[in-house]
């Protein structure tokens, strides 16, 4: 397979279209659960990193050597995040800054 052919691998395009948003969302959700901040601050960080990460992945995934690697990079990030979210329920949530305000 030529280098040009690999650079235009359809699997890379699908990774940028499908895997990138899912991965970005899982990172954001994990951050909002994981960050040692009050609930509203953790949510704000989590939800506001989704779009930049999504954009970064769309830009960077086409630079992968081939489509299989592009998907692998996404899975490498997404699977641990998904596992973390699946294993940790929402119990024991931190209070919001409004709830702790004097």
């Amino acid at each position: 397979v030529s280098r040009t052919r690999r650079d235009h691998d359809v699997a890379k395009t699908w990774a940028a279209l499908v895997a990138a948003p899912v991965t970005a969302y899982l990172i954001g959700a994990t951050l909002s659960r994981l960050l040692p901040l009050q609930e509203d601050a953790a949510f704000a960080w989590g939800v506001h990193v989704i779009a930049p990460i999504w954009v970064c992945l769309v830009v960077l995934l086409p630079l992968a050597r081939d489509g299989r690697r592009a998907w692998a990079y996404c899975l490498l990030i997404a699977l641990p995040a998904a596992a973390f979210l699946a294993l940790h329920d929402a119990d024991g949530r931190r209070p919001t800054s409004m709830e702790t305000a004097p």
């Binding site: 969302y25 959700a29 939800v47 769309v58 830009v59 630079l63």
Partner: protein, 320 residues
């Protein structure tokens, strides 16, 4: 900084393809966005036959409610809205009956309490087109388009970075059309980047909300979308427990409710819209939408304004 030939080629392809696929949708958003900037002015211009000095009519919210209620029914549990025109003696009433899934609206002349004929919807339709509100999932589509704009900005920066300084102000209209257009594209891209970043970011945050809220609720908040919505847009109304509502037999006059809201939110706020829900039930409430008063008398809201599924007021205050 100079990206490798491979990086340049791939980023150029991404930039070109994303641009080709999304540019038409982005053009629609930007084109109608220019009209959206002048929405208030257009709403005044589009229906001159309704204009009359606001001082000629009653400023009572109860009178406005009664004038509207003469023409459309307010069923129990209805959601409703009263929006006086900013510079005219008319009020628009809107009622949504959740049980039937139907809504009705009317524009009433406050001098005669007569229903006015249909007014032009030009301003609100142009506004709706700014984010494809008439298209199914149009808001989400506009969010994805905004994200695409972000991708265009990043890939364009990577492509252009090696020549950024040399071509920062290079425009050669005497060359062939293709080169002149390329120069213009680069200059507008570079100098418009701060604005474009702002558009892309705000578009992502507003447009992707209908996707992100249920997704975040499902993953992190046990499906509690109301909670995620309050985290996303700001805290919801701090409603009292049901008991005080059950004890109240009759609602307070709207003027009293609005005054309570004004006192609860001190400052030079002009009350623009009164919105209510659960009318006639123990959970009834009104939400008073205000805008900080300006020295200019330029109207900021038109009578055809209505709340949107993801919009939030600049200030909201609970009254019972």
């Amino acid at each position: 900084v100079k990206p490798s030939a491979r990086t340049f080629r791939i980023q150029w392809d991404v930039h070109a393809w994303v641009g080709v696929v999304l540019s038409f949708g982005l053009f629609i958003i930007f084109y109608f966005g220019t009209f959206t900037l002048f929405r208030a002015e257009l709403s005044v211009w589009q229906s001159p036959q309704f204009d009359a000095p606001r001082s000629a009519c009653s400023e009572s919210w109860e009178s406005r409610f009664e004038a509207v209620a003469r023409h459309i029914e307010f069923p129990t549990g209805a959601r409703f809205l009263l929006a006086p025109a900013p510079n005219a003696c008319r009020v628009r009433g809107w009622v949504y009956d959740a049980a039937r899934g139907s809504d009705a609206d009317v524009v009433v002349d406050m001098r005669t309490s007569e229903r006015l004929s249909e007014q032009s919807r030009l301003a609100s339709e142009l506004y709706d087109m700014h984010f494809f509100y008439r298209v199914p999932h149009g808001l989400e589509l506009s969010g994805v388009l905004a994200l695409g704009l972000f991708v265009l900005l990043v890939t364009g920066f990577v492509i252009h970075i090696k020549n950024l300084w040399r071509q920062r102000w290079q425009f050669r209209p005497t060359l062939r059309w293709r080169f002149a257009a390329s120069d213009a594209h680069k200059i507008l891209g570079v100098f418009g980047a701060p604005l474009a970043i702002t558009f892309a970011w705000s578009g992502c945050i507003l447009g992707l909300a209908p996707l992100l809220i249920p997704a975040m609720a499902g993953a992190v908040y046990d499906g509690n979308e109301a909670k995620v919505s309050s985290l996303y847009y700001g805290p919801e109304l701090e409603r009292e427990a049901d008991e005080p509502y059950a004890a109240r037999q009759a609602r307070l006059p709207f003027d009293v409710l609005v005054e309570k809201a004004r006192l609860a939110s001190p400052g030079p706020h002009a009350v623009e819209v009164v919105e209510g829900d659960e009318l006639g039930t123990k959970a009834a409430y009104v939400r008073v939408w205000t805008r900080t008063a300006r020295s200019s008398s330029t109207p900021q809201r038109d009578a055809s304004w209505r709340p949107r599924r993801t919009s939030r007021p600049p200030h909201h205050v609970l009254t019972e």
